[in-house]
Structure formats: structure tokens, C-alpha cells
């Protein structure tokens, strides 16, 4: 079946929802495609309170932000939401997005502008036995615990000390799971000091330059063999030791889900600081394809606060391009850009700044 819309938003997470919110009241016909049965994306798994300013919901818990945004968007008459709907491909000759609803109904979706806010997928690690039951990505552990109230295991080892590894370790402790240790392949802890200090205070040791070599177990995970790494990331012979555990959680980063952007033939670049292949874009989140905007993790893996700002910018930019703008649209865009720049300031934002420098193009397309 054919559907026509003005602005198509692919992904109903923080970036997509904020893009939709920017388009409220513009009179534009907005359609959100969301793969899950509910809006909110990763926000729904986030039980911690956000930092930053009031505009960025500081002090509010992630899932509550998701609920607020969902209510706002769903109350709007010009926004349609299709849940359990996958944007399965873009066909350049026919110029539509093919969407599959509830694995049953196919739609050809024509649009004037599209905002790709598809998020990111979890990376895994290569080691012997990495497919044993009991080995999860950190996102899966968060989904089980925070969305469905299911304890993933009793006795867990976390791989990765980035913010996700640290926060999920803390949440596991809160849920009564024993977190044996956090292993980090790099020489230093990856996440914020405040999160690392908190899990250390709770008694979880963090071992740097250490990783998992093998997972052991008959029908499910029973133990892991861990090993030290040298400065060239190679195993240090003789340092292997076996630790028992029933759950191994991999928090080793995310990759932007940029498949659709490839299909749109956007100019792409591999930027390790941003998690993988990302599209080149200008300050208003427009890619080298003039009708395609990006926001959130697909534009470079960061966090929900930046995803929301990018979504806001992309939404207003699409409205402006379709001449449905508020008088103050440039001011609003600049405000969000200012918040985003503030987030990227300082030593913590350095990596992201470096990454963005490789894909940001000056020209307004």
C-alpha cells in the first residue's frame, strides 16, 4: 500500500521523537516508523537521572523522558506513528522506503524529507565459545532487567568499562546480581569518573589491560578464561586464569546502523571515534543527499542527550527546508547547536569532537 508524507522519521527513539516534536504544529504530515511495539528507544531502558540543563531534562530518569516525549508526539494531530514497522530498504529508482508492518503488510512510503534516526547496534567480541547461552550484550541485559524485570543471571562478569559497562554493572548490583569484576582491554577506564568511582565504592574491581579469551561450559556458560593484554593488545602468555560465572556481559561499544544511508548513497566515512561508518553532514544534520537528515547514534554513537539535540535540529531543519518554519527557526536551531557544542566541550568530549571534525562539512547543502 502506498503512503505519502512530508517528513518521514525512521526510528522512534530519543532522536526521532525530538525530531517529531520539532515538527509539531507545522502542519506538515509527519510519519514515524518504529520497529518496536512502543516509542522511546533506548530511553526506556535508562533508569538513571540525566545530567545537563533543564532543557535536557536534567534530574529526570531516562525512561520518564521517553514517556514525556511519547505523550507529546502522540497527542499531535499531524504525527502518525507506525509501531512494529521495519524500514527494510530504500529503492533509489522508485524513490520510496519499503516498510514492513508486523511482518505482514508492506507499505511503499513516499516522502519529501527523511530523518534517519535508526540508532546503533551492539558490537560483539570474537572469542572461543562466544555463542554460549549466558553471554549477552549490555543492551540485552538492560532490556531484560529494566524493561521486563528479568534477572539475566546470578554471577556476572562485565567486559568493558565505558559508561554503558559501568552503569549496567551498577544496575545489576541494584538488582541483586553479583558483579564479579569489570574487565577493560585498554590501559584506562573508558567511562566517566563519577560512574567508575561509584562501582568501585560498591566493591566491584575493575581490571584494565584484561580481556576474555574463552568462554567455557557445556550447555551454558559456566566459566570464562581471562587473560592480560600487553601494550600492543596481545595476550600475555601465562596470565590466563579461569573464573566461574553464569553470565558474561559484553559492553564493548556500538556501531551506527547506517544501512539505509548507504542505500541513499550518502557520502560515508569510517570514523572510529563515532563507532563506525557515518554519513557526512552539515551543522543542520543534512547529509550529502539533500533530502536525507540524520540524528542520534546513527550519526555517531554518543548518548541520549546529544541524540535529542540532533533530532531537534534535524526536525527544524526539515521544516525549514519545506518552508514550514516558525519565524524563530534559525534561533531555535542555533540554541540546540549551542547545547550540543557545550556537551562536546572539555576533555570528555574530545573524542567526539575529533570524530565529528572528520565528517562535518561546512557547506550548507
Amino acid at each position: 500500500m502506498r503512503i505519502d508524507c512530508d517528513v518521514l522519521i525512521i526510528g522512534g527513539g530519543p532522536a526521532g521523537l525530538c525530531a517529531a516534536r520539532s515538527l509539531l504544529g507545522t502542519g506538515l504530515n509527519v510519519l514515524i516508523l518504529e520497529r518496536d511495539p512502543f516509542l522511546g528507544g533506548q530511553l526506556l531502558k535508562q533508569t538513571h537521572m540525566f545530567f545537563g540543563s533543564k532543557e535536557q531534562y536534567a534530574g529526570t530518569r531516562g525512561f520518564e523522558i521517553g514517556q514525556i516525549l511519547t505523550r507529546e508526539v502522540q497527542a499531535s494531530p499531524n504525527v502518525t506513528v507506525m509501531l512494529e514497522t521495519v524500514a527494510s530498504g530504500y529503492y533509489p529508482e522508485e524513490n520510496f522506503i519499503l516498510a514492513l508492518e508486523k511482518e505482514k503488510k508492506l507499505y511503499q512510503i513516499y516522502f519529501k524529507k527523511v530523518i534517519v534516526a535508526t540508532g546503533a547496534s551492539e558490537k560483539s567480541l570474537l572469542f572461543e565459545g562466544n555463542d554460549l547461552p549466558g553471554i549477552y550484550g549490555a543492551g540485552a541485559v538492560q532490556t531484560l532487567m529494566n524493561m521486563y524485570g528479568v534477572m539475566p543471571g546470578q554471577d556476572i562478569i562485565m567486559i568493558g568499562s565505558g559508561n554503558i559497562g559501568l552503569i549496567v554493572s551498577y544496575q545489576l548490583l541494584q538488582a541483586g546480581v553479583k558483579v564479579k569484576a569489570i574487565l577493560e582491554a585498554a590501559p584506562t577506564v573508558g567511562g566517566y569518573f563519577v560512574h567508575a568511582a561509584k562501582v568501585r565504592r560498591m566493591g566491584i574491581p575493575i581490571f584494565t589491560q584484561t580481556t576474555v579469551k574463552r568462554a567455557l561450559g557445556q550447555n551454558a556458560l559456566e566459566a570464562v578464561e581471562i587473560v592480560n593484554l600487553d601494550s600492543k593488545w596481545q595476550y600475555v602468555a601465562g596470565t590466563e586464569r579461569k573464573w566461574s560465572c553464569d553470565t558474561l556481559c559484553l559492553a564493548v561499544g556500538l556501531s551506527p546502523m547506517s544501512e539505509l544511508l548507504w542505500q541513499f548513497q550518502c557520502e560515508m566515512r569510517y570514523v572510529s571515534e563515532l563507532g563506525g561508518y557515518v554519513a557526512k553532514r552539515n551543522a543542520i544534520m543534512q547529509t550529502t543527499h539533500p533530502d536525507v537528515y540524520i540524528a542520534g547514534d546513527v550519526s555517531g554513537v554518543e548518548e541520549a542527550s546529544s541524540a535529542m539535540l540532533e533530532g531537534t535540529i534535524a526536525g527544524f531543519a526539515a521544516a525549514k527546508a519545506l518552508h514550514k518554519m516558525l519565524d524563530s527557526v534559525d534561533q531555535v536551531i542555533q540554541n540546540s547547536q549551542k547545547f550540543l557544542d557545550e556537551m562536546h566541550r572539555g576533555p570528555i568530549g574530545e573524542k567526539i569532537r575529533n570524530g565529528l571534525a572528520k565528517v562535518e562539512v561546512d557547506v550548507c547543502l
Partner: protein, 383 residues
């Protein structure tokens, strides 16, 4: 990259690397293969990977029978450490019109003369070979259990690894941008990474063969035509052979892992270089294949892609010399380059080293000159 070679081969698909292998095996030194992208990034890595011997002419029977013989032992010959996944699960070719029945009868007589034990199936026998086929409109079928398929990526790698071990230089991400000739002889290949002086150039550029021909001032009447393919998720084993229907213009086969691969021709396809996917294909493929093999309606599509057939005017390969001394052609395979690559490469290598040809009549039947002479090759059994 070296600036001198005896032979420069243009194209890192199956045909190009197989020719390099056959040449170095015959003692030719200083061979360079140019590939503007990665190995098997053109038609080879995008093809349906079927290998059939059920043809309607002596020429194609010789090319395909000789190739299958080589495929049977290729992995050992190339000392490849992985599996090239050659498996002889057969080709099943249904007929839906009186004309097709007549043609298939002629074909099978010829095929049996060449020693192929091709079976003639009445409609009531067909489900023994393809249990899920709908019998509506089906008038007869031929089936040969020694046809099959193999993995195009592994096969290309196998040739390439053997080539490198023996000293062939395979230059990836290196594009041919010009050909220098003098007195109607090859002098040099001009590439994006420098000039290579050489005596011979082999045009194995697949979809780009016409462009490469023009560089040497040789007009090749080939053109590129997009063909699309899709693959489903792996499902339980439903049928073994490649099912190829000329009537519906499609082919489909269940891969060793259970995924089902399929393609369908589009008579309205423009003559151009284009590997975009279309929804139209997805729709048409799905509706036709589920008519013939109804249970496939439950299989979910995982991926679709497109590749280019390098078409010749008579849908038959162009293998041979040109008016430019040292400029050889191995192109225009019209969708069948992968399955006959062992014979193509052997013939080109024999020609270049002045050995007697395994199929001597190719010199007058598959050469470029046939189009000027008006001696088109007619193969009745092509999609």
C-alpha cells in the same frame, strides 16, 4: 607496482584470475592482474553460482562439460585450504509449451550423445525431483544430477591464492584508464597507479569490457544488462536442484545452508551499467516463484542485490584474438561466465602460448569477427 609485464589481465573476477593461473601454469612469467575494486566485486560475486551442462549446442556442451570436470578436482589442484563448496545437486528444467518440449527433446538427444545422462521427466515424475513444484501447466522437464553450483567467492580466492603463490601480481584498487598501441600491437597498459609496458592485454573486464575494448580501438558489441537476485532466510530443506524455467525466465536454488537464492530476467532492462535494486524485481520475483513453488511464500527475504550480465549480441561468449596483436578478449559471457571459467581460461592460455586448443573451432565460432561476418552463434537454451 611493476612497470613491466608480459601479460596484463584486466579484471579480478573469476575469468581474469583463472586466466592468470592457466598462464603461469604454462610457464608464462611477469603476469599482472588489474582489479579496480576487490576480487569478485563485479559479476562473479553477484552471480547465482549455478553450473549447468544442459545446453543445446555442441560448443556450449564442450565448454560446460570441460569446466565441470575441472571443478570436480579444482580445490585439490589449487591447493586451497577451504571448501569451494562444489556440489552436484542437479539442474531441473521444466517445459511449459509445446515448443519447449520439442526443443528439450532435441537438446537431450545431443546431450546424451556427449555422454550426459540427462533424465526426461513426465509431469508425474517431477515431484520426485522437486517435491514442492506446482504441476499446473507443466508439460515435461529435463533433469541432470551432475549439474550443480559452487561458491564464487571461494573459487575466485582459490585461483587468486594459487596465482600469488606462483608469482602473479594481483593489483587491487588499480583501474585501467588507457591502452597504448603502436602499429596495431599492444605496448602498454595505463593504470591509475602508473604505466605498465607489456606485450599482451587480456580483456576480462566483464561489465566494463566494451570500455576496455575502446581503449585499444577495438569495438566490441557487448553491453551491460542488470540482473537482480534475492536470497531468503535459511529454511528447512525443500528441494535440491537448481530449478530453471525458460518460460518464466527465472532460476532458483536452495543453498547448502537452507537459504533460497533466486533471480528473474526483465525484458525491459535498459543497456547500462547499473547495480541498484528495485522493488519491482522483488514483487515480480516473489509472485512468479510462489506460483511455481508455492511453499516458498513462507520464506522471508533477507537481502536483494544486482549484478551485470555482459551481454553479447548472440548471448554467447567472445573468446579470442582481435585485430590488435596481443589484445585478447574473454567477455560477453551473457550470464554464464562463472560456470565456464575453467574452459575459458584454458582456451585463452592455450591461444597465448600457441598450444593446440582444447576446442579448436572456437577460433571461428566465438571470435569477435563473427559479428562482422554475420555468423551469429545460436544457442536455443538461454534464459
Amino acid at each position: 607496482m611493476k612497470n613491466k609485464a608480459s601479460v596484463v589481465i584486466v579484471g579480478g573476477g573469476i575469468t581474469g584470475v583463472a586466466i592468470a593461473y592457466e598462464l603461469i601454469k604454462r610457464g608464462v612469467k611477469d603476469i599482472i592482474v588489474l582489479e579496480k575494486n576487490t576480487l569478485s566485486s563485479g559479476a562473479t560475486g553477484r552471480c547465482g553460482a549455478g553450473v549447468r551442462q544442459q545446453w543445446g549446442t555442441e560448443m556450449n556442451l564442450k565448454l560446460s562439460i570441460g569446466s565441470v570436470k575441472r571443478f570436480e578436482t579444482l580445490q585439490e589442484e589449487l591447493e586451497y585450504p577451504h571448501d569451494i563448496e562444489f556440489s552436484q545437486t542437479g539442474y531441473f528444467m521444466p517445459a511449459y509449451t509445446e515448443k519447449q518440449v520439442e526443443q528439450f527433446k532435441k537438446n537431450i538427444t545431443l546431450q546424451r550423445k556427449f555422454g550426459l545422462h540427462v533424465e526426461w521427466l513426465e509431469p508425474s515424475d517431477c515431484r520426485k525431483v522437486v517435491p514442492i513444484i506446482d504441476l499446473k501447466g507443466l508439460m515435461a522437464a529435463t533433469y541432470y544430477d551432475k549439474d550443480g553450483h559452487l561458491n564464487p567467492f571461494h573459487t575466485t580466492q582459490a585461483y587468486a591464492m594459487a596465482c600469488r603463490r606462483k608469482g602473479v601480481d594481483i593489483e587491487l584498487f588499480t583501474e585501467l584508464i588507457g591502452i597504448k598501441t603502436e602499429h596495431d600491437s599492444i605496448k602498454a597498459a595505463i593504470t591509475s597507479k602508473g604505466v605498465i609496458e607489456c606485450d599482451s592485454i587480456v580483456n576480462a573486464a566483464g561489465g566494463w569490457s566494451q570500455i576496455v575494448g575502446n581503449m585499444a580501438g577495438v569495438s566490441i558489441p557487448t553491453y551491460s544488462e542488470r540482473h537482480q537476485i534475492l536470497i531468503t532466510e535459511p529454511i528447512e530443506p525443500l528441494f535440491r536442484p537448481m530449478v530453471m524455467s525458460f518460460y518464466h525466465n527465472f532460476y532458483t536454488q536452495q543453498e547448502p545452508n537452507g537459504a533460497i537464492i533466486m533471480g528473474i530476467g526483465d525484458p525491459n532492462e535498459p543497456k547500462e551499467i547499473n547495480v541498484d535494486s528495485t522493488y519491482l524485481f522483488l514483487q515480480k520475483m516473489a509472485s512468479v516463484v510462489t506460483t511455481v513453488l508455492p511453499p516458498l511464500k513462507h520464506a522471508r527475504v533477507v537481502r536483494q542485490w544486482a549484478g551485470m550480465y555482459n551481454m553479447s549480441p548472440d548471448k554467447t561468449p567472445i573468446i579470442g584474438k582481435t585485430q590488435i596483436k596481443g589484445f585478447y578478449l574473454a567477455c560477453g559471457f551473457s550470464g554464464h561466465g562463472f560456470m565456464i571459467s575453467p574452459m575459458t581460461s584454458t582456451l585463452i592460455a592455450q591461444m597465448m602460448t600457441n598450444e593446440p586448443l582444447a576446442i579448436p573451432e572456437i577460433e571461428t565460432k566465438l571470435d569477435l569477427g563473427r559479428f562482422e561476418r554475420g555468423e551469429l552463434f545460436v544457442e536455443p537454451s538461454v534464459v
